[in-house]
Amino acid sequence: MNEQLPALIIIAPLITAFLVFAASWVRQKWCYPLVVAGLALSLLSALGTLVRVVSSGDIVYKMAGWTPPVGISFHIDTLNAFILPLVAGIALVNVIASKVHVESEQGENLGAFYSLYLLTSTGLLGIVATGDAFNLFVLLEIASLSSYALLAMGHPRAILASLNYLLIGTVGSSFYLLGVGYLYIVTGSLNMVDIAALLPPLFESSAVSMAFTICLLGIFLKMAFFPLHGWLSNSYTFASSAAASLIAPLTTKVMVYVMIRFMFTVFTPAYIFEAIHISDVLVGLSIATIICGAVLAITAKDFKRMLTYIIIAEIGYMVGGAWLGTRAGFTGAILHIFNDALMTFCAFLVAANIKQVVGDLRLSNLQNLFAKMPWTMGALAITAMSMIGVPPTCGFFSKWYLIQGALDGGHPFFIAALILSSVVNIVLFFRVFEIGFFEPAATHGSGGHASGAVREAPLSMVVPLLLMAAGLIVAGLYTGTLVDVLIDPAIPKGIT
């Protein structure tokens, strides 16, 4: 059984997706326990896999016993071993936190919603686990197609936004597929480790550089890297809370993981930093992404839209960190995948809670929220600290590594962009806090303080949020362990 754990991570939610859909025809109330069970099983398998990887090294799981490069294999090292439980965990916690509003919003579509939710989770988990470049494309499409549908099941404008995402996302996937096609032509293999072994003699080949460029372009499209970020904001803003809280924290982070996998496992540092010279350009684009996200976020009039722009800025952190070509930069990028997923998840849970109680996320509607929803706003305060980068929350530590990496790599402008982004985050979140704390002006001041009754979101929404917010601090305090045990072993050779 222990040997089958890697497969179980993916298969549990996949099978549950079909079971849920079938169950919804019989009894709608069976759906929720099934989803929770499926994702919990996936999370447990992911944790089991993590323990095994840490204790006894990388796992190569051969699907149906076929040996790579012919068969498909899952290749799990410390890098993806800790992203898997992150993805499964966020998917599980989000199901629990969103139960109340999913049931009221989706009505008859409950079964469909939950099976799409599970398929998206399956796809994301598979992308992280797989060691096969083509299999990654298949799983990417599973994740994307189900997430297009999932995102469309929200606000009336969500359909158009999601269509836009579909068009751009499909272009992205196709680019990726095309790149993998080139790689297959020159190497004759689809297994990542295998390709990595076959590539070095071909580094000079223009087909290889074409393959790399196109793959990267596809990945950039999917992760909304500047200037390909246009689709992200609308499709997340108009989505239902449950869908946004799953897809917004995870999709972009998983795509950053894919980029790092391609850069360091498939193409190796010898290629990306020595054979080709694009790292400066990409660090520059990352700076542009950070600034662009920050500027757009300032213009946002809606809390969720502001969060979507912050996501874009954070992508700049990770891509930039990976392309710094330094040990600290790489560590920072990986650490930020973990931290940013948690932070963004918390922020979207906060948005979901506010939406549940207030009904509208326009900034001007957030008046008096500290009195009304003290717990939710408390969690938002911790999340904001993390996004600003205040220790001991986890956001500080990845920022520290990124700045150190930029220092070692000689990229002062990247440091400036990171600090600028921190300062902008202060402005963004304190604008929200000011509205929640000082407005409406009539009820405050020396005249008297009508504090208003507490009207929190249901307990099933508040408790997961508070746990996740506490997790931001715990993750920060355990940064040392995380880096020592999981990230350091994953740092590829050739990076100093």
Partner: protein, 523 residues
Amino acid sequence: MGKFWSHCITQYPPNTVNLDYSPMETLFSLKPLLAVLVSLAATPLIVASGKRPNMREGWTFVAAFLKCGIVLSMIPAILDGKQLGITIAQVFPGVSIAFRVDALGLLFAVVASCLWIITAMYTMGYMRAEKEHSQTRFFTFFAIALSSTIGVAFSANLFTLYLFYEVLSFSTYPLVTHHQDRESRVSGRKYLGYLAGSSIGLALPAMIIVYSITGTLEFTPQGILSGATASPGLLFALVLMLVFGFAKVGLMPLHAWLPAAMVAPTPVSALLHAVAVVKVGAFSVFRVLTGIFGVDVLAANGLNVPIMYIAGFTLLAASLIAMSQDNLKRRLAFSTISQLAYIALGASLLAPSALLGGALHIANHAFMKITLFFCAGAIFIGHHKKNVSELDGIGYKMPFTMGAFTIGSMGMVGLPPVAGFISKWYLCLGSIEAKEFTFLIVLLISSLLNAAYFFPIVYRAFFRKPADWVPGKKYSMAEAPALLVVPLCITALYSIVLGIIPDFPLNIMELAQTAVMQITQGG
């Protein structure tokens, strides 16, 4: 009394004190961690008993007494030349969240934790007399702020210091903006803008640069940059980034947040913006200069010179501005800016006496300035007056309050027997030792300026006739509630005690001397 006086003067200079210096022994101890956590642990209890004010304030007192007890219990070991330390978690290679108590840190912690007890009493009286809203929130964040203050005091390295420094900035925001009106919104923006902006924009990058040069952030007696190879230009940039990054010290031009913070209820201004927050800034600068750069590196590269001049300028300019302030709390705020510059000046003059003066002033200024703020709050509660120009004859009605105010003012000017005299004495000695006679003159001029903006208040209070004066009218005493007046009398009297027997009962002088010895003989 004269005997006591000569006794404490002849104890000086510290390098003649017969104390064998050996490399400091660090003992493992849970006490620093407990001292930090005890007020944090009180916050859930404070929140839970929000509906029962007496029980809620009870928790504050329990936490305050426990904290003070734990801090005081560390004095013997520290005076014995030992250090107490504990490491919580390693976060980066060579950097951990860790506490280490040495004499300087303990000095600051003793002051902050003792004053918390007194302020808790004052706060109770003030908030209830004003019928302030959201008192539970107020007491909760007050406790968090105290935790982070002690955290800064006990930090073993720059990272831990930065951590608690930031927590302090953010946890005091709801206190500063407590009234939740338009004015506090604007002030809150200024407050965080200056404090968080400078720490993230300047201190954080500087810290990372130091880390990548040296591979550590641990405070060491000789300074971690002493063995490193760094160009003078870089060192110069680092010293400026770190000194201005910790903007809580209020050196100009990053001082405007402090007058803005005066919008807070007076207990906050008293404990946080005269003691905890601002002293955290001064303390951080002290730590950075002595523990990161080290006296030798600073002196060899002349890095202390710009800090000296900035401090000297701030000292005079803030005093001049203070003279023009009619709002009593704002006048006190500018006085604080000026007095903080004394501490920064003491640290940057580098001479042992100056360091001693700076360290002592952390304590002395705390007791004197908190007295003055307590008085300002008591005047506001008793008579709803905020401005100096309204204080004519108030001494008839509030003799205790204004008596305490007079003592505080004398301390600010530096008149014996109030504590301010001692620290100023050592600062002056230090500037002579360092052969910086300009600063001797600056210090003396500043004393005159302090007199020029404090004594008129005393004069108004006692020698001018109240607005409603008619010949032959007797004024009955109209003091603020006892919960306000008792604390301010205690701190005023203690300011005098500190000026006569500095070691009674908190060993402040001995702690300061040990601290200076650790700094100057560490290398």
